[in-house]
Symmetry: C2
């Protein structure tokens, strides 16, 4: 037989694509195993359960990502020895780290779609797993963002970061559908890199937006 990837890899490769296309609950193990041309029992044999398979799919992206991102942040901190790292550079570094990992397998779309699913699908175990396993690097990043934007109240920065997270995940995870519309309406084919290029000024402007007017006193009219 040809040098076919081993069973575990074939399962992961197939599972991530199907999960990204249809979600977790809508993808049965039989869908995966038949398309991957492995035996049905192989999933439970190698991974233990469907939940564990889902986590393994994420780990294959997030493990290298956290390594790279930590390294990139190390480098950035060294460059600005002790000083504050500008917001643009932080965002740039994150974008680069996110893009690098799946680039090897031409699967950024899949990666983003999976991230979107992790947020939107029920799968409580997944959110818990990701938070426990990969929360650290995100904490480090937000701390650096805090130093870069001292004028922002903590709560405001927290929300704006999540606003932007929403922008990126929503856009890139719904990319196929949006791309179809865009292509039809504007005849323009958009690559992921095009989108990142478009995202940059928007995200920076959003983070630097003026502060909202203070909340009106709870009961009393403003």
């Amino acid at each position: 037989m040809a040098q076919q990837p081993d069973t575990v890899t074939r399962i992961l490769d197939t599972a991530e694509v199907l999960f990204a296309e249809r979600g977790f609950a809508e993808t049965s193990l039989r869908n995966i195993t038949s398309k991957a041309k492995v035996n049905l029992a192989a999933v439970n044999y190698h991974f233990g359960s469907k939940k564990a398979l889902i986590q393994a799919v994420f780990a294959r992206y997030l493990d290298p990502f956290t390594v790279r991102f930590h390294a990139a942040l190390d480098e950035l901190e060294a460059d600005h020895a002790g000083g504050v790292i500008p917001l643009e550079e932080l965002l740039e570094t994150m974008a680069r780290s996110v893009l690098e990992v799946p680039a090897e397998r031409n699967s950024l779309k899949v990666f983003m779609r999976l991230l979107g699913l992790a947020y939107s699908q029920a799968q409580g175990h997944l959110r818990r797993y990701i938070q426990e396993e990969y929360g650290g690097v995100f904490t480090r990043f937000t701390e650096l963002v805090r130093l870069a934007t001292p004028e922002l109240p903590d709560a405001e920065r927290f929300w704006r970061l999540h606003f932007m997270l929403g922008t990126v995940i929503f856009t890139l995870s719904g990319l196929d559908a949006l791309r179809d519309i865009a292509e039809k309406d504007y005849g323009e084919h958009v690559s992921v890199r095009d989108l990142v290029r478009r995202l940059r000024p928007v995200v920076v402007a959003a983070m630097n937006a003026p502060l909202p007017e203070p909340a009106p006193a709870q009961r009393q009219a403003g």
Copy 2:
């Protein structure tokens, strides 16, 4: 018994909550009917199928929304007779329309979560249904936005609108989880209205962000 809502309403009320909490595929008809205290067959009897039930849940929000939104846009156009409506007012009007509908049932969170699911879950039939049934009002809105932002290339405006759509849907549909974190870290309880207040300057700044640097020539610069 007391003046309990009729079967159809009880099913819809229960279904929307469960769908919002767990997604469509993860919510079985038995979950719904048992919690709603109606017979299992009632769903298929009144709605025909689970798909039709899902669509009915959306219709109950989107029908009144489109009516209100169209009316609000009519009013806005009348105020600016023939002239251009400023972007801020357009966004403001949309926000107000979105907030008004579920306010009657205190269920904005559910509404937003459902919108998020409509984008992220497989459910191709849902996207098609929403597009066909409610695409018109969105088209009208984007056309007004086009007039308000003549300096933006069409494609750029298209993407920025979707960026902001992502921000709003992602934030408000993941509100519970985010709220927990925010409350724990900043001791601050956020209401939906707080969030809208915070969103306003961010969205405006994002739409008015400087244009991205032109794409590096792909084959031939346009």
